[in-house]
């Protein structure tokens, strides 16, 4: 299977470990990732708030790049997925279509509206399939209880994005089970991580992150896993701040989706960039009999 790989900004910079793990997993399971160094940022929801039309046009340009190549677009971030899909939805309005087409014409781009946006989670769940993935597992994550954390923009608004469910998805839990781990169901798995207001009102953002981590913990999770690097930033890179917000330690290792898959398919922690996490993943790795990550 050949896909136009859209890593998004974070996986190319502070979340480089997500890119590492994605490439490792893609190679292992036979996904061919075609790269396009001309992809721009999806706007992350912020450009949408500052200038809606510009946001749609930039994403229509991204979608047109994949369309020209005749490929589906592979994302590894819930927010990128939502923003790119939203552009397809917004272009259904004749007024928006007219303005965006006009601007795209100035750069010699025409977008027909055919590009399908696929998150890695969906490709693993729908195309590779749970059974085939289970058969590829060489190091089952037996004994590890994992709380999936979906990221809002993969799910909502569900009516526009046609997602599997706005509040009660199951695909990630299915995958976690296929890897040999035990999925943990908790309310927070579909909630917000607080990231969008990390720079607006940090204490509130930290409290929101802490609420979801504590919820996962209260339901027995040894670790969390997310298909969104923005959630990862909030839950991992700022977990120390979340701890401060609630006044006690949380000690919750947080994996990127392809890191969890990679571990079950035999990758080393280094190949998956685990040493780059702010919260050590040792406690989770010990549960699956994997050596500790050097600091």
């Amino acid at each position: 299977m050949k896909l136009a790989y859209y890593p998004g900004c974070v996986a190319q910079e502070s979340g480089k470990e997500l890119d590492l793990a994605t490439r490792w997993v893609a190679k292992k399971i036979g996904l061919e990732l075609v790269e396009f160094p001309n992809f721009s940022c999806c706007g992350s929801g912020f450009v949408d708030e500052a200038n809606r039309t510009l946001n749609v046009a930039m994403n229509a340009r991204n979608l047109a790049i994949a369309e020209r190549a005749g490929l589906e677009l592979l994302t590894v971030c819930s927010t990128c997925t939502g923003m790119l899909r939203l552009a397809n939805v917004e272009l259904a309005s004749p007024e928006m279509r007219h303005r965006v087409d006009g601007a795209l014409a100035k750069i010699g781009v025409a977008y027909q509206g055919t590009t399908r946006v696929r998150h890695l989670l969906e490709v693993l769940h729908e195309d590779v399939g749970v059974e085939r993935l289970r058969a590829m597992v060489t190091r089952p994550l037996t004994g590890l209880k994992v709380g999936a954390f979906y990221g809002c923009h993969l799910l909502r608004p569900s009516k526009e994005l046609l997602s599997e469910s706005g509040e009660e998805p199951r695909s990630f839990e299915d995958l976690i089970a296929a890897l040999g781990a035990t999925p943990v169901l908790y309310r927070g798995r579909v909630m917000c991580c607080g990231f969008p207001i990390l720079f607006v009102k940090e204490a509130t953002a930290n409290r929101i992150a802490a609420t979801q981590i504590e919820d996962a913990k209260a339901h027995g999770a040894d670790a969390m896993a997310t298909p969104c690097p923005l959630c990862h930033t909030s839950l991992d890179s700022f977990q120390n701040k979340a701890e401060k917000a609630v006044g006690h330690d949380l000690h919750m290792p947080v994996f990127h989706l392809p890191q969890l898959v990679g571990l079950a398919l035999g990758a080393t922690p280094e190949e998956l960039g685990l040493p780059r996490h702010l919260v050590a993943t040792d406690s989770a790795l010990r549960k699956i009999g994997q050596v500790a990550v050097p600091a």
Binding site: E13, N38, V47, L54, M58, R61, K106, I208, T211, S237
Partner: protein, 325 residues
Amino acid sequence: MAAARVKVPIEVYRFDPTHDAKPHYDRFELDLAPHTPILTALLQIRADRDPTLTMRYSCRSAICGSCAMVVNSKSRLVCQTPVGPEVEKHGKIVIEPMRSLPVLRDLVVEMSPFWGHYRKLEPHLITDPRHPMPADRETPMTPVEVERFKETPRCIACGACYSACPAVEADASFPGPMALAKLYRFVVDPRDSARQDRLVRIQTEGLWLCLRCHLCTEACPKDVQPSQRIRDLKEMAIAAQGATENGSRHALGFKENLRDRGILNELKLVRQTMSPLAMLGQIPQGLKVARKKPETMRKPPKIQELEQIETLYRELDDAPGEKAR
């Protein structure tokens, strides 16, 4: 022929603050047709098992907005939520009172915080006393003008969005989705004269705490789409006043940021959003992250065909009249 019945295990939150030290759950099991509304199940429990079960309801037709509760973690009107799909998905139905509002008893909450935010935003028509609306004839609106607020008047103020909102839960200063959606309705009303004041005020009164998680839109029984209307308010607030708060600086800064390289320069965005003093406070955290993730301290490479991005900005952002209208 009677419809097939299913076993419906229901766990109901019970709390009487005058007697109980803490809440508990009572478990009931009913035999019901799958399409039975949860409200009917609760009324049956009250009639047959426990007359003290306390709840709010009235019309039973999703019009009055009285019976919003939490059903298996989702905020819903129980009169329009059938038992069957819940039991199928969860094996049982757990009913709790709405979140982020004080519990008066069992499933009844005190709504005054919800209404307090609503009143503060003055979501009613404010006309200019110097140009009063004519008393002897109507003030017509064009179909295009009416189209802009076709969703918001559907709101029945049930509070489901407020209960579903993680920003409300974490921060009492956030007005909540319903109050902001109602505010939007008057910001775009051509007869209202307070548009500019409303947009300026809301920037400092919680607009930027919206997480755009869309949980409100998911919970709304009337498809008001509060999260989309809040997004519109943000764009209009920036157009009306520019970036005056962390939130608007962040949105505007993000947009400007992408123009340089086509992808995000993370370090620069911090400078674009925060005051120098606030940035100083972020240095310890920044260093902690950079030790593991050195890329946060560098400029990312420019994308190829960056000139195309520049053209899109010139066409859609610089041109007068192309920004939020």
